[in-house]
């Protein structure tokens, strides 16, 4: 009864895994919670790799991979907008045809988002349509970060990518296609920021368009 096979580990029962937590000095006490989880579940299952300040997504991935012991890496946001119940679906999909990357999609099947108003939906759908037309990436969701990678593939992609933020996610998938890695999708639901505030300002939108144009011109 009281094994490791309990929530939140239930969904990963039968797989060998460790959870690596990267926290870039967030002021909301994330690290304290993580330490407490580590005390409960053990240092082999919960691996803490905090950094002192915000240093960017790409370097966070590199930082995390260094400590990953398995052949596969699944990346998800720790604010619960990505529900761990989808992990088995990523794993199942990967095994189907030994895919190099499995990416979660909010834009097809039963996928979707909770907590977006009309304006946010229009921006999101418009931006997604633009990238589909210009980049023809072969996947329906380019900016989501809930993904499974083979570890070697993830390393190669990170080294090939130069962008930041949303554009980084997009570049990873576009480059994956460029390198002829196989990519599959699973529908996911994204519950936007149960905790904390979602950010999408003018600066993000400008950076996004610059990123799309950069990829348009170079890939």
């Amino acid at each position: 009864m009281d094994s490791m096979c309990k929530f939140p580990f239930l969904v990963l029962c039968g797989h060998e895994f460790e959870i690596i937590i990267i926290d870039d000095g967030s002021p909301d006490g994330t690290l304290d919670v993580a330490k407490e989880l580590q005390r409960i579940y053990g240092e082999d299952k919960i691996v803490l790799r905090p950094r002192e300040k915000k240093l960017g997504l790409g370097t966070a991935y590199i930082h995390g991979i260094k400590h990953a012991t398995g052949n596969f890496v699944i990346i998800l946001d720790a604010d619960l907008s990505h529900h761990p119940k989808f992990l088995p679906e990523f794993i199942r999909k990967q095994a189907e045809k030994d895919y190099d990357v499995v990416t979660g999609t909010r834009y097809s099947g039963n996928g979707g988002v909770f907590g977006w108003d009309l304006k946010r939906k229009v921006i999101s759908r418009g931006a997604n349509y633009l990238t589909q037309v210009l980049l023809r990436p072969g996947v329906s969701d380019l900016t989501g970060s809930f993904r499974l990678y083979k570890k070697t593939v993830l390393e190669k992609l990170i080294n090939a990518c130069v962008s930041k933020g949303y554009v980084f996610q997009m570049e990873m998938i576009v480059r994956a296609r460029q390198f002829n890695f196989s990519v599959a999708e699973v529908p996911i639901t994204f519950v936007d920021r149960l905790y904390g505030e979602s950010k999408l300002g003018g600066n993000e939108i400008v950076a996004f368009f610059k990123g799309v144009l950069y990829l348009f011109a170079t890939t």
């Binding site: 929530f7 409960i40 979707g112 939906k121 349509y129 149960l194 348009f216």
Partner: protein
Amino acid sequence: MAIPKMFQWLLAASTFMVAWLSYVAGYLNTSLSQEYHEVILVLPLYVLMAFASYSLAVIGYRVATFNDCIEASKELQEDVKEARKDLERRGYKYASDWQ
């Protein structure tokens, strides 16, 4: 290495424009009827308008059918409660309770 998408677009667009301009400028000897001639004169504009309408329709449809995931949000809140209980049973201490 494939040709970047931008050059694919430029190639397609310039091919089209060269054909269109040579027709408009009268370099192509055709015996098209007057109606066809008038359509071809404004063809680039038609193409742009058709593409714009198609894009707006697609985006509008996708916004309207966006899945709101209300169930997923409720389920998550239930899961959070359950996880909290489970963690408390395991002796989890919230930061506010630390001494």
